[in-house]
Each structure stands twice: as C-alpha cells, then as structure tokens.
C-alpha cells in the first residue's frame, strides 16, 4: 500500500511500487486529465506537477512519491470553475485535437507558479519539453501569455499579438 497526496487529498493505492504514476492516476484513481502519449518521456502529454516541478508521470514510479505533493489537471479547476490558466486556454482556443493540452497546462502551471511574469523566451524554453502534433503552439504560447497577464495585470506586457505575427 502506497499513500499518494494527489491534489491535496491522501489516496491509498494498492498498485505495484514500480507502476508509473500515469497508470495509477488514470486506472486506479480515475483522474483522466493526464494522457498517455509515448510512454517514453518524450512528448509531455502525461505531464503533472510534483512538488512544484513539471514531471513526466509515465516515467515516474509511485514508489518514489510517498510524501510528495502531486497536482494534476483536476487540481487546477473544473469545467464549471476553470482556473485562470485553464480559462486562458479556452479564451485563446489553444487546442485542436486537445490531446496534449492537459500536459501543456500543467507544465505552464509550474512555470507561472514559480515565475509570474515570464518572458516569451522563458516560456518557449520552459515549454520545449512538450509536443503538440496539431501545431497549435502559437495559441498555446498566447494562452500562457494571457494567463500571465491576467494573473499579474499590473505586469502590463503586450502578449498574444506579437506572438501570432512572428
């Protein structure tokens, strides 16, 4: 039995210690936000936040997670009450097929938690690990910029437009 702290709640799971967190989230805890993309830590669809850092949950066995804080997409907001970051993704329509978006949002969440006004270069560098095969990167960048602006209205950066025109 391993006790996981997921989105502020303690959850006891019976899965084998080697089981990747992604399988436990989706299979055992029925938190289906994180997606299985490649299973090799190369695409980022499975990204969750652990102790404030973005991590590939497909390559993270639950044996190393005792006592660590796991945040998944479900921990940010809900369909009825999306978080500011989720709202920004909706407002920018930053999805085509949408499969990569939970991972994108979680990686962006880790960035904006640590750095409330990232530069465009910082956003690009930080988001580099996550892939979108539909090619909505510009809208994803715009959404993150929008969320940063919304979280810090006083930061007064000109976001979305400049990105789109590049």
């Amino acid at each position: 039995m391993i006790t996981l702290n997921v989105n502020g709640r303690s959850r006891d799971v019976d899965d084998a210690p080697n089981t990747p967190l992604l399988y436990v989230l989706r299979g055992t805890l029925e938190l289906n936000g994180a997606k299985f993309g490649c299973g090799l830590g190369q695409c980022g669809a499975c990204t969750v936040v652990i102790d404030g850092k973005p991590v590939f949950s497909c390559l993270t066995p639950i044996s190393i997670l005792q006592g660590r804080k796991i945040t998944t997409l479900e921990g940010l907001g809900s369909e009825d009450a999306p978080s500011p970051l989720q709202r920004a993704f909706i407002e920018e329509q930053a999805a085509q097929c949408g499969y990569c978006i939970p991972g994108m949002i979680m990686r962006a969440h880790a960035l904006l938690t640590a750095n409330q006004s990232p530069t465009d270069a910082e956003i690009r560098e930080h988001m580099n690990a996550n892939l979108c095969r539909c090619g909505t990167h510009m809208r994803i960048l715009a959404a993150i910029n929008r969320a940063a602006g919304g979280m810090h209205a006083a930061g007064a950066r000109a976001p979305a437009k400049a990105e789109e025109e590049e």
Partner: protein, 414 residues
C-alpha cells in the same frame, strides 16, 4: 606548493623579458575573398569547433560570451565576428595568424591557453587564410567580451609568456610516410585544427597537456573525456567505421555523443565526409584493438540487483522503459552496458545525463532523454548509478556518488 611558487617566480622573470609584444596596426582595408576560400574556411571552422566556445547559449554565432570554467577561474569565449570595436574587425591577416599561432592578440596581449593555440600553431598557412576569410565575412556583431574571473596569479597575463616558453610547440604536424594519406590527413586535423587533445589529454597543474600521456583521458566542462587510445575502457570495440558513424551522427554499438562532445558531432555532421573519415582513420588506429572479440557486458545482473536493490528497483521502474527494449527506442543502444560513461573512473557523466537529460543540439536529430533532476533525489540517483556500475563494469565501486550529485546539481542548475 613550493614548486608552484618557484615556477611562478621563474615564469615571472622570463615573462618580463618576453611579454612585451608590439601591437599590429589596425587593418581598415576593404577585404575581398574568393567564395571558395570562404566556403573552405567555413568547413575548417566547423572542424575546429570555433562556434562551440565563441557562441553564448542562445547567442549570435561567434559573438562570444560563453563561460568556460577552468581550474584557474572562469574565462569567456571572445567575440570573433568582424565587429571593429568588440570583435576582430581590425585584425589584418598577420594579426590573425599571430593570434592563432602565438596566442597574442592584435594589441599585443598574451592569451590564455584555454584558447587552444598550442594546437592552432600547427595549422598550415592555407588553412589560416581560409579561416580568416570565413570569419571576416561573418555578420559583425557588437558584443563586449565579459571580463574573465581568474584567481591570482593566473590573472597576471604577462606570466603567459613564460607558459608559452615552457609549453608552446609550433612544429608542424609531422608526416608518417609509412601511413596512408588519409591517416596523415586525420593526424593533421586531430592534432592541429580539431584539437582533440584539449579535452582528451590530461593537463598538468599549469593547465598544459601532458605530452607523455597523449589521449589518456581528460576532461571538459566537468565531464570526463574518455581516452582515445588502447586505454579506452568500454567493452564495445571501436573500428574506423563505428568511429566514423559516431563522429558523424550515431553508432549502433556506441550510441551518440552527449555533453560537450554533442556540439563536436553536430559540427562534424556538416563538413566533407572525407575529413571525418580521415579523423576516424587516425584516431581509430589507436582506439581499435584488432583481433579482440566483444566481451560480454551484462552477466552480473543478479549480483548487482542483490547489492543495490533500491537501484535495481528504480532502474526497472524508470530506466528500463527505454533502456530494456532491445534498442527499439530511436537512437537508443541495446544495452546501457554499451555506454562508456559506466566504465569511467568517476560517475560524473552518468550523473550529468540523469540530472540534465539528453537533448540534441539545436537543429540536429538525436537521442532525447528527459531530465530527472526534479523527479529523483540525490540518494535515488546514487542508487541507480551504483547499480549500473555494479551490473556492467569490473572497475570497482564509484566513491562519493551522492556528494558528486549534490555538487553537480549546484553547478549545473541556473
């Protein structure tokens, strides 16, 4: 210590005598170069990896600013674009040749040997002309060189004149008539332009390559640089062909370059094939052990798992996902036991890869491995490293793995 002090006094005295160099007049002439010369210069610049040290991360090519950590302090790659104020725009060809061969800049200042003029001194006149033509036709970028952070006495530049008296060998690379033209070409590239010994030969306490230990292994940016001779420790044998593959992109037996070697391979992928074949012929002749059959690399798995159960468990849960698939993940060799890093005398390279992951240089294809700095603790990474070492190497346990992890975590995190 007394030896060092004595050396410093001797160097100081000689320096006063030799360290007075005249400045070479500014060259403001309109320069015209034949396109073929410029093109050849570009290939040579790639073979000499000029951009590796002279380009900052995400910076403009050749505009300098990259920090280079040495045991004597941190120096910065200089701006070698033709900007007249901050670059080498006012260098005549004679000033350029003196810089490359004598380590003296246009103004007459002695340069630190982190700039490998001990190798470039052996370049031919034709190759120097081509390099000059290439650099002088790059876009001029105004970018001030950051000041070096060197400790005393190494911040006293005139002492370098003494260093050169001791160590600077300007003799051309000799030709060995008993060897092929290709081998001789490779020898020239390796010993002069590509300056392989700068990382792969150990240095003495004054930072000079130890000639008697040529290619015995050295280091680069806190990575271990393996021997390029029969002391190469991995059980996977080299051939000219596999070395060529490795230097050009990736080899099925040895995998791909990581760390400071990755930009070297990225550069070699762009130069004429025969130059890389020549390098492989020269280095391959000392690396390859003819007649030696492949040794088994993975026969100690049960003992390793017993000695390091946590490491084995973590390996199974994390690493095995890609590294036990029989090489079916792109750019991944069949077994981690094929990687030289596991046979190194210290665990630095393994730690670097686990902490930082692997990402091909911008604009190239290659292995992608995620970084585990945020997933794994120092103790967990140490368990994995100890397990890998025990499973594959006969070199004995690594010492102080956890302390090394903590140190590298501090020095590599922004």
């Amino acid at each position: 210590m007394a030896f060092s002090l004595l050396l410093i006094v001797v160097l100081g005295a000689t320096a006063l005598f030799f360290a007075t160099h005249l400045s070479i007049p500014e060259d403001r002439s309109q320069r015209v170069f034949a396109p073929d010369l410029v093109r050849r210069g570009g290939e040579l610049a790639a073979l000499g990896y000029c951009a590796s040290c002279h380009t900052a991360e995400n910076g403009k090519p050749f505009a300098g600013g990259r920090p280079l950590a040495t045991p004597f302090g941190t120096l910065f790659g200089t701006n070698i674009t033709p900007d007249p104020k901050t670059g080498i725009g006012l260098y005549s060809q004679a000033a350029f040749a003196r810089t490359m061969r004598d380590g003296i800049d246009r103004a007459g200042r002695d340069l630190y040997p982190v700039f490998p003029y001990n190798h470039f001194a052996r370049l031919t006149d034709e190759d120097l002309s081509a390099l000059y033509a290439f650099l002088m036709t790059r876009a001029a970028v105004p970018a001030q060189n950051p000041a070096n952070h060197l400790t005393f006495p190494y911040n006293v530049r005139p002492l370098l004149a003494g260093w050169k008296l001791l160590y600077l060998d300007k003799k051309p690379v000799p030709r060995d008539q008993t060897r092929s033209a290709e081998w001789n070409r490779g020898r020239y590239l390796v010993e002069a332009l590509s300056h392989c010994g700068a990382c792969h030969t150990p240095r003495d306490r004054l930072g000079a390559e130890i000639a008697s230990q040529h290619f015995d292994s050295g280091e680069a940016e806190d990575w271990w640089a393996p021997p390029l001779n029969h002391k190469f420790p991995s059980p996977v044998s080299w051939s000219e062909e596999s070395l060529f593959n490795y230097l050009r992109s990736w080899d099925v037996g040895h995998g791909g370059a990581v760390g400071p070697m990755a930009p070297v391979v990225a550069a070699l992928a762009t130069v004429p094939e025969q130059d890389v074949r020549a390098i492989a012929a020269y280095v391959g002749a000392t690396l390859a052990k003819p007649g030696e059959s492949e040794k088994r690399v993975d026969e100690k798995q049960p003992q390793a798992a017993e000695a390091h159960p946590q490491g084995a468990e973590l390996y199974a849960g994390i690493c095995a996902t890609c590294h036990e698939t029989g090489g079916h993940v792109p750019f991944t060799v069949t077994s981690l036991g094929q990687h030289t890093s596991i046979y190194a005398p210290d665990p630095r390279n393994v730690i670097h890869v686990v902490l930082e992951g692997v990402r091909p240089p911008e604009g190239t294809v290659g292995a992608v491995m995620p970084a585990f700095a945020d997933t794994l603790s120092d103790a967990q990474i140490a368990d994995i490293a100890a397990y890998l070492r025990a499973r594959f190497s006969r070199g004995g346990e690594w010492q102080n793995i956890e302390a090394e992890i903590a140190r590298l975590r501090r020095s590599t995190s922004p």
